[in-house]
């Protein structure tokens, strides 16, 4: 039997930001998710949202927290998100990476700092983020990795990212990378293959 909904005119409940912050830690995941949704446009809540994101076990609550953060995208949000790389599991790392890809303009500064980190894991994550950012500044940072980075695996990740986007601007930097690691067969093979393909297409 068809019935007409009578409640469509019911107003949305007034939102109390203090209650929203409290509900971020509620035992009921639906309440936590609702709080993450409702705290949009609340720049004062950014730290609390990131704190919760680091420990939140439910995927749909994390998705709401991340959407909120993406919606408030800024270099500060990108910094906060990048700081979570050390705090969660692989699922959170991947979600944070996707969020950084969703705010490429805002992420580049953070990634520039990360590729200079003394921590190789941080540098590798930065290369992975930069690999999916369609921006000449990201390409430049990845090419800098080829000539400066000491860890060959991180260099190979940068080559992979540059090749994936078809974004090499300098075959010379690629050759310089190969010259820095003459004993690493994989580096020699990848670079020779790419240089051959450049020769074929350019």
């Amino acid at each position: 039997m068809l019935v007409k909904r009578s409640a469509s005119a019911e107003p949305a409940a007034a939102f109390d930001p203090k209650a929203g912050l409290r509900d971020l830690d509620a035992p009921d995941p639906a309440l936590r998710r609702h709080a993450a949704q409702a705290l949009r446009q609340c720049p004062d809540a950014l730290d609390e949202l990131c704190r919760r994101l680091a420990v939140e076990p439910e995927g749909d609550v994390r998705a709401a927290l991340l959407s909120n953060l993406i919606g408030q995208k800024s270099p500060g949000v990108a910094d906060r998100l990048a700081s979570l790389f050390d705090k969660g599991d692989a699922a959170l790392r991947n979600e944070v990476m996707e969020a950084l890809w969703a705010m490429p303009e805002q992420s580049i500064g953070t990634m520039q700092a990360m590729v200079a980190s003394p921590d190789g894991r941080q540098r590798l994550l930065a290369v992975n983020v930069l690999s999916e950012i369609p921006d000449p500044r990201a390409v430049e940072l990845l090419e800098q990795v080829l000539v400066r980075e000491d860890d060959v695996n991180i260099c190979l990740a940068a080559v992979d990212g540059l090749a994936h986007g078809g974004d090499f601007r300098s075959a010379g930097r690629l050759a310089a990378f190969a010259a820095r690691f003459p004993d690493v067969d994989q580096a020699q093979f990848v670079v020779q293959s790419l240089l051959r393909s450049f020769g074929a297409t350019r």
Binding site: L2, R5, S6, S8, A12, Q37, D60, A63
Partner: protein
């Protein structure tokens, strides 16, 4: 005024590239809708028309009027002009078949007789989709009398909502409706067709922008959402936001039907794909 004179008059309102970009950013902030370059001519033309209609001195003057229009009437006029509302009865009806053959029986399972099943058509445009859903359920779902079925239709465009509430359609809208169904659910009104009162009075139409969190909070416990060919107008960020808000509006175990060229998995992993026959729909998981 000749066509050439009209074009020359409208050219006065041609926005500069910078003005146009600033308008697009403003419209995106208000509606979540972004325009690609291919739409540039269409959008500029509508902007020129509205600038002329408001007797603005220039596009800059019109844009200023638009931004400081506190009651939002002019923005609504633009929304109405810039959104596409082409639809007809029983469009992509394989999804309605899946609704009555598989989705509704699954929702009904374990639910008490007499309880509410809520279906939401968003965007509903001029109403063909929600009325088609109602007809399909009444005609093809045997359990329809055992539940209180609420069908809601929402759109961002106030003009199409008024037409949906009126329920009067041209022959072209009914091209896929068989004569027996026409006789049963419509009456002729001049050269047009008027939807019967029973259907018209049972569907709730409301104006909602899918990326407006406060408006979306009015919709809760929705069991099935038809959200077809809407998300294609949004950029990645708005699309993600819209899907988040849809998820929030739905009951656990509820279903989303997208347009045939759309894919939820490209937007979000919140929903699980389910296949009913040849129809792919997306389900909000039950919490463990």
């Amino acid at each position: 005024m000749t066509g050439a004179e009209r074009a020359a008059a409208l050219a006065l309102y041609d926005p500069t590239a910078d003005e146009y970009n600033r308008f697009c950013e403003f419209f995106y902030q208000k509606t979540g809708i972004s325009f690609n370059e291919k739409k540039g001519y269409f959008v500029k033309r509508r902007l020129q028309e509205r600038s002329a209609a408001r007797s603005a001195a220039s596009f800059r003057d019109y844009f200023s009027m638009l931004r400081f229009d506190l009651n939002g009437v002019e923005l609504q006029q633009l929304v109405n002009l810039l959104t596409v509302n082409e639809t007809y009865f029983l469009r992509e009806d394989y999804q309605f078949d899946a609704l009555v053959a598989s989705i509704l029986p699954e929702i009904a399972e374990g639910r008490a007789r007499g309880s509410v099943i809520r279906i939401w058509s968003m965007p509903c445009s001029t109403g063909e989709e929600p009325y088609s859903i109602a007809i399909h359920i009444l005609e093809k779902w045997r359990q329809s009398d055992e539940f209180a079925i609420e069908i809601c239709g929402s759109d961002i465009d106030s003009v199409v909502l008024a037409k949906a509430r009126e329920g009067r359609y041209a022959e072209r809208s009914l091209q896929r409706v068989a004569p027996p169904l026409r006789r049963k659910y419509f009456r002729t009104a001049g050269v047009d067709f008027q939807i019967c009162d029973e259907l018209r009075d049972s569907i709730d139409f409301s104006m909602i922008n899918i990326v407006d969190r406060i408006a979306m909070a009015r919709m809760r416990a929705v069991d099935v959402v038809f959200c077809r060919n809407l998300l294609i107008y949004f950029d990645d960020v708005s699309r993600r936001e819209a899907v988040e808000l849809l998820y929030e509006a739905m009951s656990p175990g509820g279903f989303v039907c997208l347009g045939h060229s759309e894919s939820m998995s490209r937007i979000s992993s919140l929903f699980r794909p389910r296949k009913f026959g040849g129809t792919l729909v997306y389900q909000k998981p039950h919490r463990p």
